[in-house]
Symmetry: C3
């Protein structure tokens, strides 16, 4: 059985909480973008913040078959809801700092992916499923959010190399670890790889060939309904 203390040695609580908090802020900014009939109340914003901040970790731990780490301490829920409320209050400020949001988002995917693959390797999973778990942790919060909100699951239709960026980082981590690199160093490299690929994809508007038409359509929809997140 996986003990919480073992994990604390690998993923420090503060790092985990930073990822959760950034996820919560993003959730609030996303939720705040709904207008009119679909407008969310305080409770809805908090739920989306929790889903975005803690969903990836929950999916990771379900796949690993270990009790969810995010429920073993009071701090995760307090951080996610606190971040969601701050995100809602400061939505105006954050929307003027779009470059910061996109940058943070890229780091968050990297963090969730690296933590997911690290934990999977520690629990003893082989390399391929360990990478899979990392990608699920990185994109899982967004999938849960879309399902609960009744939106098309973004990752299926508009990748923008989102999952690919997460996957590349997880591959780097698992590969470096297999070659003997310590997990912490491999994780830092993985976070950097994911962040850079994601940022380059946003800056140069890169996508897989068949996604382009969809992406253009999605951006138009987002412009109308959701706060635009562009660099």
């Amino acid at each position: 059985m996986w003990s919480v203390n073992d994990q604390a040695l690998v993923i420090p609580l503060w790092a985990d909480l930073i990822a959760v908090g950034l996820g919560g802020i993003q959730g609030a900014l996303f939720a705040g973008g709904f207008r009119g009939d679909r407008r969310l109340d305080l409770l809805g914003v908090a739920i989306i913040g929790i889903v975005m901040g803690m969903g990836g970790g929950l999916i990771r731990d379900l796949l690993l078959g270990v009790p969810p780490a995010t429920l073993q301490s009071n701090w995760y829920l307090l951080t996610a809801t606190g971040a969601a409320l701050i995100g809602m209050l400061l939505a105006g400020v954050f929307h003027r700092l779009n470059a910061v949001i996109v940058g943070l988002d890229a780091v968050v995917i990297g963090l969730f992916g690296a933590f997911g693959t690290s934990k999977a390797l520690i629990v003893g999973l082989p390399i391929v499923p360990a990478i899979f778990v990392g990608v699920c942790a990185a994109v899982g919060g967004g999938i849960l959010r879309d399902v609960i909100m009744g939106l098309p699951v973004a990752i299926m239709h508009v990748g923008s190399l989102y999952a690919v960026a997460a996957g590349a980082g997880c591959v780097v981590l698992a590969g470096a670890n297999a070659l003997g690199a310590p997990l912490v160093a491999a994780s830092i490299a993985a976070i950097a790889v994911t962040t850079v690929i994601r940022l380059l994809a946003v800056i140069f508007d890169i996508s897989l060939p068949e996604q382009r038409a969809l992406h253009r359509r999605k951006v138009a929809v987002e412009t109308a309904a959701i706060p635009i997140v562009k660099l």
Copy 2:
């Protein structure tokens, strides 16, 4: 590892089965409300009954990382499907007893919430995640139902203090337990608090400020498509 016997000491099987059976009846009444193209057959009604009766407990146990208690005995599935079939056969009677249905619904939320938070505390979760697990257990069956039916997740758009009522009960339970009250007494108080808040919300049509417009719209939709549940 959590043993089923430990839990039986806290949540008697008959209490658990009452909650499951009431959930199953509600599921059947909900499913029976679909007309025309979306009409559900016998199998569909049974599935919704199982989802509503057992979904909350399944989500609770997944979050706790313990084997689902509802699958450790034959009685849960037999009760949920039996209740769904009874609900379908007696739909006419139940619809004339709307006040009873709403009252039972309020008690069911209270039961699932109290059982969820109790089990979380026994498993050793801190107070905040224990409350969270209770709320998820109370509203989880309804979320699963909406996702499987392809409906907007009701809790996100029309709260009617549904989740808040569940949360208040769970807070009372966890708080009373932290102050030294025995779990059984704290659970009874929690069920009472949730039930009363939920009933008051229905009677006085209270909702969070931003939910009001949505609520009015939803009621109109429900009037057309789903059996109206009003006191």
Copy 3:
């Protein structure tokens, strides 16, 4: 705690991988049927292949409260994605072999159902939940696929005895096992029962009474949007 070696004694890896591979091919054929705006890219096809090939096993293990077997070896993910890519490349060939596809689909439901109920019985579940877990394993991949794709969950509206066929096989397995038959023999009988019922349902276009109108409508939709799978 359930050990992976115990399971290997009952479900040989090659049998498990055949089921996963067939599921992956089906996922690719399903995904390849989307045209125009909803067209999926390479990544989307691989995701649907993984969901269809591994989703049933994941749901089974979550319900049993054991670590997902499909993530304990590299082979499952490699098989599912490989099969999805082969399915995409050979879509033209497969579509001319529709009878083969329908036949394989029927066998796959039988395999997932039998493996699900077997594993549940080995883990120690009573007979009713063991049958339930088998049915969830058989139809779970399709439900996950529909939720992620934002489609109506097929099993709820157009059964075509799909779940009933799976359930009949699981009942045969659990019943034969309860009467003293060895698990392997009972499993083979169960797979045969499910396959035959499913094939008869497709050949004679049988469905539960209330599903008929819906079924006709669905077929029309499928004809327009999705590769028709007919014998």
